[in-house]
């Protein structure tokens, strides 16, 4: 935490370009409690976070600090025990399972540390998955899946199975899948955590490029260097947001 700077001081510099942008994510006093063998585990204890359209926010914290839980709740994969969650201004904490599924399908792309691709399913079919549930026809699915795979540099790996791809390639397939239904928000939970540094760099370059095209990006990482690609870094500890910092863009 030594490099963390006073958040008040930073506001004047970094967020300037996003101050006008609408909020795409707003968490307000989110509490998440997991019941575990009768004991309540507090994964989040009143976390609040605001992310504006087009932003790239990095989230850092120790293992078990609640980063993934925060991402899941932001990504409508889970509901908070208490508090409010707004996506595009809509309170999603009251929605039912099917409404949440629609939001995940249409607005959000998820990239996981462990890729989470379907095994024994080709790269292109994996990428088609969100379109399948969006009700897109088969031919259109193929076409769009092929386009995004080409965009992440896997145009020659369409019919490869995950087991035939390197970790970096698998993660790029996962990014293509997150991207295929034109989400406005991509959530990446330690996307480079399982990758060697070269593949990690490739993945980061793709994510940054997507952010450059206007997609809001929230990225969880342990790695300070990775986090510094973000406009802003949010620090989390024991389920609480303990502060945030602007990243200086002098080196770009």
């Amino acid at each position: 935490m030594g490099e963390q700077k006073d958040s008040d001081g930073k506001r004047e510099r970094g967020i300037r370009s996003f101050e006008e942008a609408p909020l795409i994510v707003k968490l307000h006093n989110v509490v998440k409690i997991y019941p575990m063998d009768g004991v309540e585990v507090f994964a989040l204890r009143g976390a609040s976070l605001e992310v504006r359209k087009g932003e790239f926010v990095g989230i850092m914290g120790a293992s078990g600090s609640g980063k993934s839980t925060l991402m899941h709740i932001t990504g409508c994969l889970d509901r908070p025990t208490e508090g409010e969650v707004y996506i595009d201004g809509e309170d999603v904490s009251k929605l039912n399972d099917n409404q949440l599924a629609d939001i995940r399908n249409g607005k959000i792309g998820f990239v996981f540390q462990s890729f989470n691709l379907l095994p024994r399913t080709s790269a292109i079919s994996n990428v088609e998955l969100p379109l399948l549930y969006a009700g897109v026809s088969r031919g259109e699915r193929r076409k769009r899946a092929k386009e995004v795979l080409e965009r992440v540099g896997l145009g020659s790996r369409l019919d490869h199975y995950p087991s035939q791809l390197s970790g970096g390639e698998q993660q790029r397939v996962a990014i293509a899948r997150a991207l295929v239904n034109h989400p406005s928000l991509i959530l990446a939970d330690e996307p480079t955590g399982n990758l060697d540094s070269k593949s990690g760099k490739e993945v980061m370059n793709i994510l940054k490029e997507l952010n450059g095209q206007g997609i809001t990006l929230i990225l969880v990482t342990h790695d300070r260097e990775v986090a510094e690609h973000a406009h802003r870094i949010v620090h989390i500890r024991d389920g609480e947001i303990i502060g945030e910092e602007e990243v200086s863009k002098d080196n770009e």
Binding site: N98, D102, L118, Y133, A134
Partner: protein, 406 residues
């Protein structure tokens, strides 16, 4: 999601576990195969029995000794069946045939039937066959035509003459003409005056391997003077029921001490055969039903295993936007695919099995379209019924818990 899309996905998933899918299908394959095979063989057998009964003759009424109630054979306590066939002293007499013939109106023909089996021979050619003692009415009543010569007439009833079936003729005479030849029946000399035309079999009894002699000879040479039954041919189908009551009354009027007769019509026989077939069909249907039930439980079991194995897949699908009903549909499609493919394989199996069995047993088989369609939808129904619970279980999984599942 469209049905076709769902089926395509289901087949991909089933192909990934070929052996397991096939084994799971086995119950349905056997169940559906059994149902269709039994239906088609049953229909064939029914037709066969119908035409067999027809071949006995037409509009026939039989008077048989003993009390038999065909309708209650399967419905009642066996102890109520007094005697049954041959359990009681046979009180039929050839004179009864004459008596019935006299009392019935014009157009009815009555023939007593006394059956025995004897060695017969012509020169060095020997044959063992059934000998029927009867009257001149026999060919008309049993529907025999003559190939050569003729049947004996009323005036010839006391002569040592006989008619023989074509099989007997072949066996004793080969290519020779049997007419006018003397043959030995049970050591007694008879002259052949006619050969009956080929008629085929009735209930596995060869109508062509038989010898007919006047009933008086049966009693004189072989000591058999009691008809095994008396056959009455009615002039029309409509006259049968009236004749049955009349014959019953006539026999009662004879006031025989502790006599028991039964008057059976051809229709009774058809009904009897039908009821036996029906019971067989129910029994076999129940077996088929049980195997479909077991097959369904097998499908449910495998689907539950599959849901557990694929928890992570379900989590991934939900994470990218699959709704409860999408997951439900996917798993339901898989169980339905298993059962429908099983059903189709069962239909193919039944086709082969029924063809084979009908060849071996010599009964026709009737593959009916409705049975195939019924079996197809029934197996689909089994897939839905036993697939619902696993599919519901899958669809209700929590996405995060599923993604964390190892």
């Amino acid at each position: 999601m469209k049905i076709l899309e769902g089926l395509r996905m289901a087949f991909i998933s089933l192909k990934a576990n070929k052996m397991r899918s096939l084994l799971t299908m086995l119950g349905v394959i056997i169940g559906v195969g059994a149902v269709i095979m039994l239906i088609s063989l049953g229909l064939g057998a029914k037709e066969e029995i119908g035409s067999s009964i027809e071949a006995i003759g037409s509009n026939l009424i039989a008077v048989v000794p003993g009390k038999i109630d065909l309708k209650s054979v399967f419905g009642k306590n066996p102890s109520e069946m007094k005697g049954g066939v041959g359990f009681q002293a046979n009180k039929l007499r050839p004179e009864m045939a004459e008596f019935i013939q006299e009392k019935l109106p014009e157009g009815f023909y009555v023939a007593p039937i006394v059956i025995d089996t004897r060695n017969i021979s012509y020169g060095s050619n020997k044959h063992f066959t059934s000998v029927v003692g009867t009257t001149e009415n026999y060919p008309r009543v049993r529907g025999y035509e003559m190939e050569r010569g003729q049947f004996f007439t009323a005036t010839e009833i006391n002569r040592d003459i006989c008619t023989i079936g074509p099989e007997v003729a072949k066996s004793l005479f080969g290519e020779q003409d049997p007419l006018g030849k003397q043959i030995l029946i049970g050591g007694h000399r008879f002259m052949v005056i006619g050969v009956t035309a080929p008629k085929g079999s009735t209930f596995f009894i060869d109508n062509d391997d038989i010898v007919q002699i006047p009933y008086t000879r049966m009693s004189r040479y072989f000591g058999k003077n009691k008809p095994d039954n008396i056959l009455v041919q009615a002039p029309s189908k409509e006259s049968v029921p009236g004749a049955v009551t009349q014959i019953q009354r006539l026999l009662e009027d004879l006031k025989l001490e502790d006599y028991e007769f039964t008057v059976i019509t051809q229709e009774d026989l058809v009904g009897f055969a039908d009821s036996i077939l029906r019971i067989l069909t129910y029994l076999l249907g129940a077996i088929a039903g049980i195997s479909l039930l077991v097959g369904g439980i097998g499908i449910m079991n495998i689907m539950l295993v599959s849901v557990t194995e694929r928890t992570r897949e379900i989590g991934i699908r939900k994470a990218v936007g699959a709704k409860t009903r999408d997951v439900m549909f996917q798993f339901l499609m898989e169980s339905v695919s298993i059962s429908i493919v099983g059903g189709i394989l069962g239909i193919i199996l039944a086709f082969g099995g029924a063809t084979l069995i009908s060849r071996i047993l010599g009964i026709p088989n009737q593959m009916t379209l409705w049975a195939i369609i019924l079996a197809f939808f029934f197996s689909g129904g089994v897939g839905v019924f036993f697939g619902v619970y696993p599919a519901m279980k899958a669809s209700r999984l929590d996405p995060i818990a599923s993604l964390r599942y190892e």
